[in-house]
């Protein structure tokens, strides 16, 4: 079963052709001003026409009138609240526009054609924000403040006119402003089944002869997402299975000039991915390829942007059998809320969470061989919870926030968690006077900690590993009674001072591991009255698993016995 893909919201409101769009009575394309308008089949994106205008040293407003009976309400509690306007615009004469200051090209939304409207400046001859004038889908949150003071009394709850104001100050030849399909939505919703889910979605959205949904676009193999992708539905009537691997999904930006800077034209929270399921029907989301039993590869790369707090909610929550698996997936720059699902079946293997908001595993997804790096969260890259299930993962270069936050006092174990380059490995954020947070680090190396409420709180990191030194002779026989000293290379701190055991030749000592530690080892046995050996010396490194090595002593045939 293929995927079923729908716009989430109002949907298409104008197709930019001569026929009334989307059965909205009274709707029509038109122009007020000094230009000339027409439907052209020379330049188009969706279908085979676009609405064109010719402005040679002229200005005017090229618009779509949705009709007085069909006005859209984006206001709070309005029908279209939270939805955005996706408008494809093409202007091949950017250089002929008036400057930004003189309002070269704006998106004008009006509740009245001439007296009440809001404008969002998107280009001037002096600055087009990197846009070369080609087809571009501007994603507009009409509730945002316009570039200039609204004209008249613009009513965001009753928008009727959707179009472009253009003002050129030079001779232009032919049509020089085009508008293609206009949609109003929050994003898309996907149901059905696919093993190439992202690709299918994109291919569908960019099927320009049939649709020009700007929610997903593609350039040079990179998928650009504008808005939210809802996978599954609380109302789905069948299981949903969405799988893919190796895609690059970049959350796109759409900006306008607010008078002082280029800022997002969309709401900062409108981007994200959300899984949904139904109590009777599961949603399975899978990315990448599992490697072995607890690692992954070929995952997709999902990249946020600086304008939006891209969120990720990979937990439907209605069906315990729903499953999210990410193998080798890379989440980068996702600054919105990250919810990975309160489900112990969910798997995150070999996943990288880089420059993201705090990762909240909520319940007990299995996290293995993951990397949490460069968090942009001021608390920590990962939030502990009682059911957390994480092992063999790395926390690297988390300098804004800590690596791992423990909000509740207690004694916890870490297994296979390695830390490097973090300002703090542990953040202890419980209330004051909660007591000691004890971390029993097993094959882990947390060493630094930050305490939010220092009064009455402390952190104790216990990372006990063994330093084992076996002492043997040239014939591989254990040498008992040899004196073994182990010292840090960095500062000569003594870590062990033991005699080797009788039967094994083993000298052993526990060591509280915090970081890989270079050591040097001295072994001596040259006491009068027994076999005497040359001093032995070697070096090594205490890793998260401790140190084990053998020193072979050579019999001293010179020394006086």
């Amino acid at each position: 079963m293929a995927l079923t893909i729908n716009l989430e919201g109002k949907g298409i409101i104008a197709n930019a052709d001569a026929s009334p769009d989307t059965a909205m009575t009274g709707s029509a394309w038109n122009e007020v001003g000094l230009g000339t308008d027409s439907f052209t089949t020379d330049t188009f994106l969706y279908g085979d026409t676009s609405f064109a205008g010719a402005y040679s040293n002229k200005n005017g407003y090229q618009y779509y009138d949705i009709g007085s009976a069909n006005v859209l309400d984006f206001d709070t509690a309005g029908t279209e609240e939270g939805q955005h306007i996706y408008m494809w615009i093409h202007c091949p004469t950017i250089g002929l526009l008036q400057t930004k200051a003189n309002k070269g090209l704006t998106i004008r939304l009006g509740s009245d054609l001439t007296t009440d409207y809001r404008e969002f400046l998107i280009a001037g001859s002096d600055d087009a924000n990197g846009w070369n004038g080609g087809w571009k889908c501007f994603v507009i949150d009409p509730t945002k403040t316009g570039s200039v003071t609204d004209t008249g009394t613009f009513d965001v709850g009753a928008i009727r006119y959707f179009g472009v104001w253009i003002d050129t100050n030079a001779i232009a030849k032919g049509d020089n402003i085009f508008i293609s399909q206009i949609a109003v939505c929050k994003g898309i919703r996907v149901t059905g089944t696919s093993t190439t889910g992202w690709k299918d979605v994109v291919d569908y959205c960019i099927d320009y002869p049939n649709r020009a949904w700007g929610v997903f676009q593609e350039r040079d193999g990179i998928y650009y997402q504008f808005g939210k992708a809802n996978i599954g539905s609380t109302a789905q009537a069948a299981n949903v299975s969405f799988a893919d691997s190796g895609r690059i999904i970049q959350f796109g930006i759409s900006e306008y000039w607010n008078g002082t800077a280029w800022v997002t034209l969309a709401d900062i929270d409108y981007s994200g991915i959300e899984l949904q399921d139904h109590a009777s029907y599961t949603t399975t989301f899978s990315d990448g390829v599992i490697v072995g039993t607890d690692n992954g590869r070929s995952g997709s790369v999902i990249i946020g942007n600086d304008n939006h707090n891209v969120s990720l909610d990979l937990y439907g929550g209605n069906n315990a059998a729903s499953l999210t698996t990410c193998y080798g997936t890379i989440f980068k720059g996702l600054t919105g809320t990250l919810v990975m699902g309160n489900d112990s079946n969910h798997l995150f293997y070999g996943v990288t969470i880089n420059k993201c908001h705090q990762f909240d595993p909520v319940g007990a997804p299995v996290i293995r061989n993951c990397t949490f790096s460069e968090t942009i969260d001021t608390d920590a890259a990962l939030l502990w919870n009682a059911n957390i299930n994480i092992q063999d993962s790395k926390f690297i270069a988390n300098t804004l926030g800590a690596a791992f936050e423990y909000p509740i006092q207690g004694t916890y174990s870490q297994n296979g968690l390695t830390y490097s380059g973090n300002t703090y490995d542990i953040l202890y954020s419980d209330d004051a006077s909660s007591g000691i947070l004890t971390i029993n680090a097993i094959d882990s190396n947390p060493s630094t900690s930050e305490i939010t409420n220092t009064t009455g709180n402390s952190v104790s990191i216990v990372n006990s590993v063994d330093i084992d030194v076996y002492v043997k002779d040239e014939d591989n026989n254990a040498i008992p009674g040899a004196r073994v000293g182990v010292y840090k290379t960095s500062d000569n701190t003594q870590l062990m001072l033991e005699e080797s055991a009788v039967s094994t030749g083993l000298a052993s000592e526990s060591y509280n591991y915090t970081v890989d530690t270079d050591i040097y080892i001295r072994v001596r046995d040259s006491s009068i009255g027994s076999t005497r050996y040359y001093p032995g010396k070697t070096t090594g490194t205490i890793l998260s698993g401790g140190f084990s090595g053998t020193v072979v002593l050579i019999k001293d045939r010179i020394v006086n016995t």
């Binding site: 004196r483 033991e498 001596r524 009068i528 010179i558």
Partner: protein
């Protein structure tokens, strides 16, 4: 005491030294190594690096920056020690100026260079005015730096040259061989005697042969065994870095050197005699030993002062005995050396180990190369053998004396060639003149034999039998040099030359310039009014001729 009581370990300054109150026990280097290994294998010592490693049972190395003091090496034997790690860490500094040396309390204290601390004092040698400092880098202490000890301003000195840094080697020579008794062996290194710390008799010691990276005289030392009254011995050796170095020595009693040293001393200082030695390397002495090869060069002249060579020999031994500071020369003029270290007149000459000036055996002095004698005693005309500067052995001709004893002053003595053995008649036809004589020359018809006295008298027998004696001052070939007018004789005359022809001034007369060639039958006549004429026959043989007059009073003489 155990070695632990004699060895100190300064863990802070990494110094192995000698305990403040040690015994005099000398330990093997192996014992030190073994002790240190035992000490440093204790748990409490594991934080310290081991100070020593062993390469062979007699080769060891100070390691890991540990410094060994020389007050300890002087009590070690049977093993060489080199260092590894002194370079760019330990510096050696020689001081001059107003020097006030450090003491034991200063060991481990910071040395100051122009008032700034530069490192701990590890060791010192106040005799050589030398400090050993752990600078810890290659930065030298500059020449003329004002040095002191932090907290002890009484210690002062100025750097004499930049400090040096490098490794040090203590080599291990040991003597062996048959030596008489327990001679006090002494060592010369780089021209100076090392103040001995070892006992008399054979030694087994550690000698520093490299200091601060520089070999001391190419690691060469010379060990001497020169006790007066013994045959001497010495051995020059280039010590190897590792292991032991055998120094073979052999001494024994010298039966020709039994005179008390004080007596011998008097023989050369003018008290009794003035036997002396002199050198001339720039213009070597020319001496013709009379072997027919003319003059030869000799660097050294020993003036026997008319004394017999046995005395000369003992004086030579005296000059070169242990403790002798007699200033002798070698190689070049005024290149002096203490007699105790004198080996030969020139380094290139083969030394005479047992007696540097030469040996004495069988009453004969066998001179070392480049040495000759002057002012010999008459009895020693034959009692020596020389080696000229060129290395050629030179034997004197067989000077055999004519001696007549039993005389009294005023006795006239003549010793002549006899006509036939036992005839008692003088052979007056010993020579025939050869033609008319020239002015001041009498020429005979045959070559004058070498057993003719160098000076003496020639008696011409005229055709009429009259005789005239002419004193000759020399002879050569067939000519006698005399004082005579030309053509006094026609050449038909005969002549003869007495071996002795003089008036006695004492109890005996002798002639030592004659060289024995073959036996001569001689007749001796002694006459003086008041005694009966004495005549006797004899033979001048390879041992010379010695006759004794019998002076019988002529009772008829009035």
């Amino acid at each position: 005491m155990a070695i632990a009581d004699d060895v100190s370990i300064d863990y802070i300054n990494k110094i192995i030294g000698r305990d403040a109150s040690p015994s005099t026990t000398v330990y093997t280097v192996n014992a030190l190594y073994s002790y240190l290994m035992d000490t440093f294998d204790e748990l409490t010592q594991l934080d310290d690096e081991v100070p020593m490693s062993a390469q062979t049972p007699t080769s060891y190395t100070m390691t890991n920056g540990w410094y060994i003091r020389e007050n300890l090496t002087q009590f070690l034997e049977t093993g060489a020690i080199q260092t590894s790690g002194y370079l760019d860490d330990v510096h050696t500094l020689v001081l001059d100026g107003t020097y006030a040396g450090p003491d034991e309390a200063n060991i481990g204290t910071q040395v100051t260079d122009d008032a700034a601390d530069i490192g701990a004092l590890l060791d010192y040698d106040n005799t050589a005015q030398k400090w050993f400092i752990r600078v810890g880098s290659s930065t030298v202490i500059a020449d003329n730096s004002v040095m002191s000890i932090n907290g002890d301003a009484g210690v002062t000195g100025d750097a004499s040259g930049d400090s040096t840094t490098g490794e040090t080697i203590f080599a291990n020579p040991y003597s062996l061989g048959s030596i008489n008794g327990s001679p006090s062996l002494y060592i010369y290194q780089n021209g100076s005697v090392i103040t001995s710390w070892w006992s008399a008799g054979h030694f087994d010691i550690l000698i520093k042969v490299k200091d601060s990276g520089t070999d001391i005289d190419s690691k060469v030392i010379t060990v001497f065994a020169r006790e007066f009254a013994e045959l001497y011995s010495h051995f020059e050796i280039t010590l190897t870095t590792a292991g032991q170095n055998a120094v073979p020595l052999g001494t024994s009693l010298d039966l020709n050197n039994e005179t008390a040293v004080a007596t011998v001393e008097d023989w050369q200082d003018g008290t009794t005699y003035s036997i002396a030695v002199a050198y001339n390397f720039a213009a070597p002495y020319q001496y013709d030993i009379g072997d027919g090869n003319g003059n030869q060069s000799y660097d050294c002249q020993i003036d026997a002062n008319g004394q017999t060579l046995d005395k000369v020999y003992e004086v030579c031994k005296y000059w070169t005995r242990r403790t002798s500071t007699k200033q002798l020369e070698y190689n070049t003029d005024s290149n002096f050396i203490n007699g105790e270290a004198y080996i030969s007149a020139d380094d290139t000459y083969s030394p005479v180990v047992v007696a540097p000036f030469g040996t004495f055996a069988g009453g004969k002095f066998f001179g070392a190369q480049g040495i000759y004698f002057t002012n010999l005693h008459g009895d020693d005309a034959q009692n020596f053998q020389l080696i000229d500067n060129g290395g050629t052995t030179r034997n004197p001709p067989n000077y055999q004396a004519f001696t007549v004893g039993g005389l009294a002053s005023g006795d006239r003595v003549g010793v002549y060639e006899e006509t036939t053995q036992g005839s008692g008649l003088v052979d007056k036809t010993q020579y025939s003149l050869s033609g008319a004589n020239a002015l001041n020359t009498i020429t005979v018809s045959t070559a004058i034999p070498v057993d003719t006295p160098a000076t003496g008298s020639i008696i011409v027998v005229d055709d009429d039998g009259s005789e005239v004696a002419y004193a000759y001052s020399a002879w050569s070939g067939s000519d006698f040099t005399v004082t005579i007018s030309a053509a006094v004789y026609s050449g038909s005359e005969t002549a003869y030359v007495p071996y002795l022809y003089e008036e006695s001034s004492g109890s005996n007369v002798s002639e030592t310039t004659t060289i024995y060639v073959s036996d001569r039958y001689v007749v001796t006549k002694v006459r003086k009014a008041g005694i009966l004429p004495f005549v006797t026959s004899g033979v001048y043989s390879s041992t010379g001729y010695s006759g004794t007059a019998i002076r019988t009073t002529d009772s008829q003489y009035t």
